[in-house]
Amino acid sequence: MRFLTTFAACLCLGAFHVQAKSTAGDRVVVFVPKLDAASEYSQFLDSLGTRGFDVSFEGDRLYDHAIVLSPSSKKFGSGISVSDFLSFVDSGGNLIVAASHELSDIHRKLALQFGVTFEKRGSRVVDHTSHLAATVNQSDHSVVAAKQFAQVDAVLSKKVVGGKPVLFKGIAHAYDAANPLLVPLLTGARTTYSAASSAARSDVVLTGMSIGLVSAFQTRSNARVVFSGSADLFSNRLLGQKAAGNTQFVKEISQWAFQEKSVLRSTAHRHHFAATGETPEHYRVNNEIVYEVDLSVYYDDAWHPYVASDVQFEAIMLDPYIRATLNRTESNAAHATYHGDIKLPDRYGTFTFRVNYKRTGYSNVVVQDTVGIWPLRHDEYPRFLSAAYPYYVGSLTMVLGFLALSAAWLWNTEPKKAKSKTN
């Protein structure tokens, strides 16, 4: 995070500090090419301000979120490199990166690390059937009206998905569909394509659905990054369009990116004997236990109980021995409790009790404990089995027989000796 203090120093580009009620913190730094260029995005940035983000210049602050609105800049500022951005994200910072057709290499390099491959410099996204009517050049169809939203409730609400198209002017990117961390939020329609430049239309590389316009990335440590091929998406010009859904779209993706919604967490979890309720150092095979986990979700500036029917518990030792769905038993204002009655496997070893809840758009929740399951104690095995009674009786009679013989032997000594003498 230390490098972020240098952000404040490199404000030649211009940086805004924004504060909001995000779970991750409320300090935002905004990169713009020139300070007055911020006015181009004033509507968007103001909206952050109204959401409680602190958009003031304050020298000595660290930042929780960064917005890069300087697609054509060759540098981020003195001393700030792509690696700094990566460690910013690694340490939990959230990032919105906006691009344009003049995207510089440094942005491209940054995006590449997230599996987002921007098109060549100068190429634009074009759609001849769905676009904003250009005011100057009739044949310029590069302000695309895109409405191929991803069905990810955690990021985009019904309002956006079922609403007006989003105006997009910028560059396309290819997204790695195999990467589970990356979700394309807005893609091209079947008629959309990426053209190298208006002059050379033959140079079509990406077309249709494989064009990523806006993509969201959530790291394993739950930092969130949004790549938009268009910086104009956030500009006053496009936000001002009445026919477009940009305002709502931008609001929701920035809310998501800055951890203002769909933030999932487990506040507590516990496991204990079903009968006594105590948690031992280790269990024994076939124990009946209770496992509970509390989940809450953050939205509307507060933690709420998280409601779902697909929360699963696993007991794993190399392979899952148990996989059971937990039931929601109670909810209070802050969290919902998921409960499971588990019978431990008939197998001893070091098990991992895990709730591994990963749903697209939501923060990953991984709760795990390493728990030893021990074999029964030597005196815990069933004893005095009815099947074994004959043996008990058998050995008991042997003892008795021995005693009887001994008694007879000792008692009868003298008469016997007399007898053996007679023989």
Partner: protein, 722 residues
Amino acid sequence: MARKVLGLAAAEQLSLLRIAILGLISVVAIGSRLYSVIRFESIIHEFDPWFNFRTTKYLVNNGFDSFWNWFDETAWYPLGRVVGGTVYPGIMVTSATIYNALHFLNIPVDIRNVCVFLAPVFSAFTAIATYHMGKEVKNATAGLLAAAFIGVAPGYISRGLRSSCSCSPSSCGCGRCGLGSALYAALTAVFYFYMVSAWGGYVFIINLIPLHVFALLAMGRYSNRLYVSYSTFYVLGTLASMQIPFVGFQPTRTSEHMAALGTFGLLQLVAFAHFARTLVPQHHFQVLLRGAVVSLFVVGLGGLWTGRFYSLWDTGYAKIHIPIIASVSEHQPTPWPNFFFDLNFLIWLLPAGIFFSFRELTDNHVFLILYSIFAAYFAGVMVRLILTLTPIRTYLNVKDVEAAGSEAEAVPVAKTEAVAGVPAAEQISVSKSGKKGKGKKSEKTEEPAKSEPAPSSKPATAPGDERWNEELVVMANFLYLLFMFQWHCSWVTSNAYSSPSVVLASRSPDGSQHIIDDFREAYYWLRQNTKPDAKVLSWWDYGYQLAGMADRTTLVDNNTWNNTHIATVGKILASDEDTAYELARRHDVDYVLVVFGGMLGYSGDDINKFLWMIRIAQGVYPDDVEENAFFTGRGQYSIGDDASPTMKRSLMHKLSYYRFSSVMGGQGMDRVRRQPLPTEVTVDNFEEAFTSENWMVRIYKVKDLDNLGRSHHKVADFVGRP
């Protein structure tokens, strides 16, 4: 002197002398085992004792009940190990008892010291037990001589450090078995129980004794006392041995124990036949029964043998079928020099001893013969079993010496033949020793070294006065041999068997000693720099040490109970970086530890063991690991740039040679393999965490998954490699 000793008043003197000699032998036995403690320090040297130490500590701290039910989560992660049920608890219980007893007497000793000094002390007991057995077989002087032999025999020291205590009951047991008293048989059973509780080698005894009984039966030497001894021993011993959870029901299920069971049944039948014959004398029950019962015995033997026992019979079996067993150096066939090294002249006196046993074929001698033949065979098959051979050799050699002594006595009577007819014992033994021995002999005739007050002079001091020339020759010869033997033993003990495998000593050119302490350095690094529940993957050889010294969770250790798990570790080390990474993460591995000798020339390193890892892995995962792929096109085991691609990709190779060539310079050599180094070794998925001073131990951290979901190769491409 002889007259004096044989004088009436001297009877008590004699026993006093015996006790004194026995005491001295014990002192020698203890002393010779303390070389390593004096040289280095009071630490536990070998691998297995680390486990004994750790379990003893647990036993002392937590009591017997929790020890019995101890489930060790830190071993065999994530499977865990049921320690109470997979251990021969004798040694730990003994140590803990001693520890508690000493503490009760307000003598504060460390558990570690108890463990270190347990073996030497028990070696003294072994010597005493040997004395008693010698006494049974022959007489007190023979016993003394045998005790003296066993006290210093290096064959016993090398393994004896580990389990000498387990052998004293064995010798006791063997000795007592021939006696014919139910009481002693019962005591034997108790000792047998103790041995079972201490050492897996009890199987040897439980096969040998029945064999002895069987041989006696087959020879028609059945007697009631045989019945009494064996039946009592077997019934009690077997029931008692089943109390050890690790042994469990084996005595009734596995074929190793079937011989004993079969012999027991046979003995019952024979006894019954005898009994019947006393009532109906004219019938030839015995003959009939013997025939019937021999077949029964054979059927009993013909059951399924478990693999470990197969490997005893066929040296090649293990290599083919069970690489895990063959990979242990202790399970290798014994090389001949080793025999001589460990047993010195005892080895070539052995046949002579057998010869003399045959000449006077008592029941005890039958036992000796059988024992020696089998022990010799097994010792040939497995290095480890030299242990079993040692005691019997000492007896037989005592017989030799004895025989030589008594023959010498006979010489004056035989008069003229004297010089030419140097006792038969001599000739036989000398012929075995070959020309060398003969040369020695002729040299030594001039030099009467009679001045040695060795205990062994006792058997020799009996002969009459006349003609002591010839006697002197024989005696001098033997004294010389005995002297040489003692000398050899102390040398071997002090040099070969007292260097701990944890700490290595090397000599620099100027003769000063340099201690190489990389293992402990690395283990302590782990102990201090990793989180307490870190899981460390290493080859199983280091498992006990890791658990003991580093106190970290291990995946596999020297208790090789789960072949699959070991094979998995082998596979991780043998497969390419990505596969290994995936597997290592699946097993929650935090650190990988490899032992590398290339810098120092330490030949017992992991690259040299690597072929075993591959073989073991291949045994379980034949689709994933292929031994041949690790050899070059010309079938060489190469590690340099000409190594096979599979070899170069393998994790073991990478972790061993990572950064090595840059440290050694362009023309660096691997000092173990004497091969040029591979020039470019990259490791992306693992991060070098620690490399010890002499590079003997290298520890790598398994990297976390990349936060951005990239492969570590990509990350390394982006960040750059050192």
